[in-house]
């Protein structure tokens, strides 16, 4: 009798294992997992920058009692992993000292700092090894930034805080991360002569690591609430325009065909006579799913419960990150693909990729 009860208990215990594993997996890896940092305080902080009579960091101490600077924590000097784990804390890596295996959505500083040079990334000067042959000012810089007080962000990128204003412990539990969560990826305007606004978006829990991204698992980017708007908003491209204004809005770009610079913040035309209504097509006659390698922005993220695989021409917009990764890539001009490989009429390996994901009639397929 005892044996029978024991067997039933063992059997019950075994049968619950898959359920427990599922719960753990969902908690750990689902796309709605919190990016808010959890884990041991000592992973990131030191109270006095002192341990056993020596400094924890010879370059410290750092602000907010951190053990390292931004890139110090978000680097991997020992391998190609782009998400590293400190105890239970997962840290997105933006700079590997050896070639990254699967870059994140923002790209990686490896190529600009280690191998290829200035054309392959933003020159964040605080990163070790970063080439200093920077441009004198950001291309397309707004004239309002042409003052010395603006130099550390608009004339050069002194450090990561030129773009990011860290708020690792902010409550980012909302699906669409905004001000309460420290803004999407901590992208918040600087303090000098700015309104302090930032970017909104839905954050993929794996930072879109290349091997973990899919049409229904990815970041969602806030677009302009009014297509072709050049005004201030919480969109991703408007944030880029802080330094690259001339590439954004309407003044230099235009408002309709013929465009004079590539538009950003403009809805993919829905006209069936144009090629864009077949975004990412697989068969040449029907629209394809959201492609994380040429993403679109959404004019209204409210109501989204998570990433969507559906793209709606006439609504969803081309924006800066449709083509670029902000940190760096293996391609010139921090492009997601090699522009030189974009050959009109091609039926080769680049057909259906890169520019041709939107410009569906320009390749040879």
């Amino acid at each position: 009798m005892k044996d029978s009860v024991g067997m039933r208990r063992i059997s019950l215990a075994i049968s619950t294992i898959p359920i427990i594993l599922t719960v753990v997996w969902v908690a750990a890896f689902s796309s709605t997992a919190l990016a808010k940092v959890t884990g041991l305080c000592s992973n990131c902080h030191t109270m006095h920058n002192s341990q056993d009579g020596t400094s924890v960091s010879t370059d410290g101490p750092y602000e907010t009692l951190l053990t390292d600077d931004c890139v110090g924590c978000h680097s991997n000097t020992t391998g190609s992993d782009t998400i590293k784990v400190l105890d239970s804390t997962r840290v997105p890596v933006v700079y590997n000292t050896s070639e990254p295996a699967n870059e994140l959505a923002g790209g990686n500083f490896y190529w600009v700092a280690r191998t290829e040079g200035s054309e392959y990334g933003h020159n964040v000067l605080s990163i070790p090894g970063m080439p200093s042959d920077t441009l004198t000012k950001a291309p397309g810089m707004p004239s309002s930034a042409d003052y010395p007080n603006c130099a550390s962000c608009h004339w050069e990128i002194a450090d990561c805080t030129s773009c990011h204003k860290p708020a690792h412990h902010a409550d980012d539990s909302a699906t669409v991360v905004g001000e309460t969560g420290g803004w999407y990826r901590f992208l918040k305007s600087g303090s000098y002569n700015h309104d302090g606004g930032g970017v909104e978006g839905i954050e993929d829990s794996d930072w879109e690591r290349a091997d973990l991204v899919d049409s229904d698992k990815h970041n969602e980017y806030q677009g302009a609430t009014a297509s072709a708007s050049g005004g201030d908003d919480t969109s991703m491209s408007d944030y880029c325009a802080g330094c690259h204004e001339h590439f954004h809005g309407t003044l230099y770009v235009g408002t309709s065909s013929p465009w004079f610079l590539h538009p950003a913040h403009y809805a993919l035309p829905a006209d069936t006579g144009k090629e864009y209504c077949l975004y990412n097509t697989k068969d040449g006659s029907t629209i394809g799913p959201y492609n994380p390698y040429a993403p679109v922005a959404r004019p209204v993220l409210t109501g989204y419960s998570g990433p969507s695989s559906t793209v709606i021409p006439g609504t969803d917009q081309v924006f800066c990150l449709s083509c670029h990764r902000p940190h760096g890539t293996p391609n010139k001009d921090i492009l997601r693909w090699d522009y030189a490989g974009m050959i009109a009429g091609t039926t080769g390996a680049t057909a259906g990729t890169g520019c041709f994901i939107c410009h569906t009639s320009k390749d040879g397929q």
Partner: protein, 372 residues
């Protein structure tokens, strides 16, 4: 094996088939049928093999022609013709910026050039712009000229031309002040939008159109080199264009109708004939008399020089055959952009002499005026 059977059937001896008497007639009929079928198939293969649209969708690296933000290394891109700003459609230069060469080779395999550096030694079918200044230059259409086109008649096809309005820029390559693209669009890039990539199929031959109708045209005989080889040294093997004519009653336009948009008095019948129907100006889009030499020789070895010096047109730009209707067009005598001769002619008018043995130019068609 099939070929050997074919040859045996056509050329074999009757006794090989074991036929005698009336059986021989049946074999003869079979041979005749097979030979006719062979001729028809060969003709179809020739037409299918050699006729091709004279335009092809642009292929090659996007970077050759486009710049996304007009920014490289912190400075604006510069690409030919002194251009520092991007043009419409994110192109790196103007029409002429891309289609101008500092060399003398009019076609480098990528860009057909309509403006050449130095002394031109050859040119393409449309000829080349010979200078930048002076209105109504004898040897060239003059871009940026604000003058009213010669023979302009706004009652002919429509008062669409804007190149002469207030000297607002004058003649352009495309748009409402130019020849290419849609005539109701002022911006040049917008006027030819979709033309280079063939995503706008409403644009016709060489991106030419007339009042919503596309101009028909084509080409035949090898790779499309815009007649570079033909103009260099005419040969029967050279590619040449095929021009449309007499399209008035059809849904597509002729090449001469295109010219008539600006030079209406020189096209149609209103201003080219008098009340008695006699010609008072040289006709265009008119069929050549069937007893003239060209209609009876367009597929013979005579025609390759004619394709350079006095090409004809056909309805729908079809491949002409001996004895078919062929038409005189504007570009039977002229090159659209310019030439080395006055009046943008294909030949020196001053050298055309009745009674001479010349077989090109005026006398290429007017064979009765030749000497012997």
């Amino acid at each position: 094996v099939l070929l050997s059977h074919y040859i045996r059937i056509i050329f074999g001896r009757f006794d090989e088939f074991g036929v005698l008497g009336n059986g021989k007639e049946e074999v003869r009929e079979m041979r005749k049928t097979m030979l006719m079928l062979t001729v028809v198939l060969a003709a179809a293969a020739l037409v299918g093999g050699f006729y091709m649209p004279a335009t092809a969708a642009v292929e090659g690296p996007c970077v050759n022609c486009h710049t996304m933000h007009n920014s490289q290394g912190g400075v604006a891109m510069v690409f030919g013709d002194g251009v520092t700003m991007t043009q419409g459609a994110l192109t790196r230069s103007t029409c002429l910026g891309c289609h101008t060469t500092t060399g003398s080779d009019p076609f480098d395999g990528v860009y057909p050039y309509v403006k050449l550096g130095g002394t031109a030694t050859n040119y393409l079918a449309g000829g080349y712009f010979t200078d930048d200044g002076g209105n109504h230059d004898d040897a060239s259409h003059t871009l940026a000229s604000p003058e009213t086109p010669a023979g302009y008649d706004d009652t002919e096809i429509g008062a669409w031309y804007t190149g002469d309005v207030g000297g607002s820029g004058g003649l352009t390559c495309a748009g409402s002040a130019g020849c290419h693209g849609t005539e109701d669009t002022a911006d040049e890039a917008e006027a030819i939008s979709g033309g280079h990539h063939e995503t706008n199929l409403s644009l016709g031959y060489r991106l030419l159109g007339v009042d919503g109708e596309k101009v028909l045209g084509g080409g035949t005989g090898g790779d499309n080199d815009y007649e570079e080889a033909l103009n260099d040294s005419p040969s029967i093997d050279d590619y040449h264009n095929l021009y449309s004519a007499n399209q008035a009653a059809l849904d597509e336009a002729s090449i001469s109708e295109l010219c008539g948009k600006c030079h209406g008095d020189f096209h149609g019948t209103d201003d080219t004939t008098n009340v008695d129907g006699a010609w008072i100006r040289h006709p265009t889009d008119v069929v050549l008399p069937s007893d003239w030499e060209i209609p009876t020789s367009v597929s013979g070895d005579y025609d390759f020089e004619d394709w350079k010096y006095n090409p004809v047109g056909t309805v729908d730009a079809d491949v002409p055959a001996d004895g078919t209707d062929v038409y005189v067009t504007c570009i039977s005598c002229h090159r659209a952009h310019g030439s080395e001769y006055d009046d943008i002619l294909r030949f020196d008018y001053g050298d055309q002499q009745a009674g001479s043995i010349t077989e090109i130019g005026c006398l290429g068609c007017h064979d009765k005026q030749r000497g012997s």
